[in-house]
């Protein structure tokens, strides 16, 4: 697989990594060649993140070797990897918001001047050198700008500038475009080509097929922790890659949704916010799954927060079961029968040091201000018996894998943590459940369980709003899909009329490609082929 024009700068052979009983990497081979962009593709959970963490010195491989310029090396610490010229740019940049771009570029290795024992930072030199390297990557802002004033795309530029200033030889781009706009992505392609031209080896991790074909030279496919295929992009096609990624066949990842939407439970009219979204109108019916699709940053989550009373600046009319209600705080929304499972499980959902049981009972602790008052209280006391019964019931119903209900949430895997957060809301017996990216970052098996759960919820007459960036998810599960773009409702599709191409076009603001059959848009997300 090695290109014969250059010898590889970084070579991985037979890399293995185990976490307890889990075999995360089972023999990964990789060659990174100067001036070439290698695409690393695979489903969520295929081992890409683990591999990146090994390359950046966060994890140590259990077996296998890493060779840099043909010499065997150990990447034991993050710093070591950096010193050897292996730099990663992450999806979510980690930066010091209150420091300037120049300080972020030179953090920990600022140019110094003065006598030994009395050395101080050489600010003019640092700013000058930072500006030079920023200009090289095409940044159009001053090196003295504070990072908190910069956009995400500009922060990526700083990361790449930092890589260049460290004489990087290998740059790892870990889903760098996930949160960028279309025009920012085009600029980003230019930067990647610039890195190539500078003779740097690039490892590009992405879920988006258009990016693969736009900037990558070669690809390696990971599946279940092993490299299962490689080749050059010019000879590859989308269906072939998708097949390699998925490999096995998973029967019926999406359950069939049997429920038929009934009467309207919630009417939303003119839901607006001064800066985030405008004029949202929709009805939600009993037993219905209403999908909200859009690109990251389209304002979907913000609108859902408004429904829950978590977005104080929002205005609009909300009618639930014929009754106009004012939602000023979450307790109002909960009282009206709404439940919200947030997107960021770690930050917004669970309490890590609480036990599974205490996490589950949190929303249902209930007082007189909510319906079903005191279901977990006996007089002035919390009822340990009822709390325990609730936890037992939920653990069984959602098939949560936990040693006991007393295990701290932090001891559970991602998928099971997500189930606990969902259980917290089901314990309230809500009428309307809003799921915001419920399968983000969980593996296929857990996804299947979450989909099954959604099907059960609507079968029991609940109404579900499913906010998702994974197209197959909404196209397969939702009775209707509302597409949002830049804070507005731009299209609506009924299940039988959902056309992946048209949905993507509406979400990105492009005209749908007119080519029938030929230019098929592969929906983003790892399960594209399975969905077809």
């Amino acid at each position: 697989m090695t290109s014969k024009t250059h010898s590889p700068v970084l070579t991985l052979r037979g890399l293995h990594k185990r976490f307890g009983p889990t075999h995360a990497l089972r023999g990964v081979d990789l060659d990174l060649v100067p001036g070439e962009v290698l695409a690393l593709i695979g489903e969520n959970g295929a081992g890409k993140s683990t591999l990146v963490k090994i390359l950046t010195g966060v994890y140590r491989p259990d077996e296998g070797e890493i060779r840099l310029d043909g010499e065997r090396r150990r990447f034991d610490r993050a710093q070591q990897a950096q010193e050897l010229g292996v730099i990663a740019v992450h999806q979510e940049t980690v930066m010091f918001d209150e420091l300037s771009a120049a300080e972020n570029i030179f953090i920990g290795r600022q140019p110094m001047r003065g006598f030994p024992g009395l050395r101080y930072i050489d600010w003019p030199r640092m700013n000058r050198e930072a500006q030079q390297v920023l200009d090289r990557v095409g940044a159009r802002f001053a090196a003295t700008t504070l990072v908190r004033d910069l956009s995400l795309a500009q922060r990526h530029l700083i990361e790449i500038a930092r890589a260049l200033s460290q004489q990087a030889r290998v740059v790892i781009l870990d889903e760098p475009t996930a949160a960028l706009s279309q025009s920012e992505i085009r600029d980003f392609y230019g930067i990647v080509r610039g890195l190539k031209a500078a003779g740097i080896a690039v490892l590009f991790i992405t879920h988006k097929f258009d990016e693969l074909f736009a900037v990558c030279d070669r690809y390696v496919v990971l599946r279940d922790g092993a490299s299962v295929g490689h080749g050059t992009m010019s000879e590859a096609d989308e269906p072939g890659l998708v097949k390699l990624m998925a490999g096995r066949t998973i029967d019926k990842i999406y359950p069939s949704i049997a429920s038929v939407p009934g009467e309207v439970v919630m009417q939303v009219r003119g839901l607006s916010h001064p800066t985030e979204f405008d004029g949202l109108n929709f009805d939600l019916r009993r037993g219905e799954i209403l999908g909200f699709y859009g690109l990251v940053g389209a304002g979907r989550s913000e609108a859902m927060l408004a429904l829950m009373g978590l977005n104080p600046a929002a205005t609009g009319e909300i009618t639930i079961e014929g009754r106009r209600i004012a939602i000023r705080e979450p307790a109002d929304a909960i009282a009206a029968g709404l439940a919200y499972v947030p997107e960021e499980r770690q930050r917004q959902g669970g309490i890590q040091q609480f036990s599974v049981r205490h996490n589950m009972s949190l929303a249902a602790l209930a007082g007189p201000r909510r319906p079903g008052a005191g279901r977990l209280s006996a007089g002035a006391w919390l009822s340990a018996r009822r709390e325990s019964a609730l936890a037992e019931r939920m653990i069984e119903r959602l098939a949560i894998k936990t040693e006991s209900q007393h295990t701290p949430l932090s001891g559970l895997s991602g998928g099971n943590q997500q189930k606990v957060v969902i259980a917290k809301w089901l314990g309230l017996d809500p009428r309307i459940v809003i799921l915001d990216e419920p399968t983000k970052g969980i593996d296929v098996g857990a996804k299947q369980a979450v989909y099954q759960l959604i099907a059960e919820m609507v079968a029991q007459g609940l109404a579900v709003i499913l906010v998702s960036s994974e197209l197959p998810e909404v196209t397969h599960l939702a009775h209707r899909v509302i597409v949002m773009r830049r804070g507005r409702q731009v299209a609506e599709f009924a299940h039988e009329h959902i056309d992946a191409e048209a949905v993507v076009a509406a979400a990105s603001g492009l005209q749908p490609a007119p080519s029938p059959g030929g230019g098929r848009i592969v929906p983003p997300g790892p399960l594209a082929e399975l969905a077809a």
Binding site: A24, Y59, D224, Y340, R347, G350, L362, G441
Partner: protein, 333 residues
């Protein structure tokens, strides 16, 4: 993947340390192991227990109440002045007054913090000075000395019930009430939840402002109660009463494993923290440490205990990497 993390129980470790100190000091000065001495340590610690119980709910919410010592002194002074002005007041009136004034001062903290979204350290640093200054205003800078303190206030710490002094019973009641609140009431659970993850708590519909105000009001009320006990025990009220004592309160909490970072801590642990400080303060004079050194040594011992405790805690945090890895590659469940 789901095995419970190995955790050294902080309370057990701390109890061992306290026991070790008691035995070591007792070996050198057997008088330390008498019942009489235990009662003395208990009497000295009762007021601290009351204050610590008030500080727990505040610390659980990632806050801190620095105004407790000033609150104690102001409430104590007002009770002493009232006793001087109206000699006919009954004991329940004093108790009600102490708790009421204290609660009012604490609620003011809570209102400032929740109304203007200010950090608790800033607000209580401010009210610490305001309350202390108010003592001047109320007393004109004068002391209320032994003969002017109302006999009922003075009598309170000396009354006994079933052989135990009244402060023990007060402290025991406060401990029981706090244990009930934190373990058996949803309000208590919600304090832990808010300290553990404020965003998640908000999403779950917990009335955050109400809970925060409650925490500071409780802290204030118990500071007021401690003020009455303090004035009675030392038979004096003056401007600098208990000055700097808020730091002892916080130290006891931290030693007892109540986390400054919020969401972690138990009544039992905090009690051991109080016991630790009480034992150290009683032990140093007994083993004839020079009074000049006592304060420095007490501080040193406190640091060592906190260090031991944080080591025990670090083991619990070590498995993060592994869990992260499990997340990254998924597939395990």
């Amino acid at each position: 993947m789901t095995r419970a993390p190995l955790r050294v129980p902080r309370e057990a470790l701390l109890a061992l340390i306290v026991l070790g100190i008691v035995l070591a000091v007792g070996a050198r000065a057997p008088v330390f192991l008498t019942l009489r001495n235990a009662l003395d340590v208990g009497n000295d610690s009762a007021i601290l227990v009351v204050l610590v119980m008030g500080q727990i709910p505040v610390l659980l919410t990632r806050g801190v109440d620095l105004s407790v010592a000033s609150n104690l002194a102001l409430t104590g002074m007002l009770c002493a002045l009232a006793g001087k002005a109206w000699p006919g007041l009954p004991l329940p009136a004093f108790l009600l007054m102490a708790v009421g004034i204290g609660a009012l001062l604490g609620a003011a903290n809570g209102w400032l913090i929740t109304r203007f979204f200010l950090p608790s350290i800033v607000v209580t640093l401010g009210t610490m000075s305001i309350y202390r200054g108010a003592i001047f205003v109320a007393s004109g800078g004068a002391w209320v000395s032994d003969q002017d303190i109302h006999p009922l206030i003075k009598g309170l710490p000396r009354d006994t019930l079933l052989g135990l002094p009244a402060p023990w019973w007060v402290a025991a009641a406060v401990v029981a009430g706090m244990a009930w609140l934190l373990r058996w009431r949803r309000e208590g659970r919600e304090l832990y939840a808010y300290g553990g993850n404020a965003v998640a708590a908000n999403y779950a519909g917990i009335p955050i402002r109400g809970r925060l105000t409650m925490a500071y009001t409780i802290s204030g009320a118990l500071a007021g109660l401690a003020g009455l006990l303090w004035v009675g025990r030392y038979s004096i009220a003056f401007t600098e009463l208990a000055s700097g004592y808020e730091l002892t309160v916080i130290a006891a909490c931290v030693i007892g494993g109540v986390s400054i970072g919020g969401g972690v801590g138990t009544v039992g642990g905090a009690l051991l923290g109080v016991l630790f400080i009480g034992v150290i303060n009683a032990a140093l004079p007994v083993i004839q440490v020079s009074p000049f050194w006592q304060q420095a040594i007490a501080g040193f011992v406190i640091l060592v205990s906190v260090m031991l405790n944080s080591r025990a805690q670090r083991q619990a945090g070590r498995q993060i990497l592994e869990r992260d890895g499990g997340l990254a590659q998924g597939g395990t469940t």
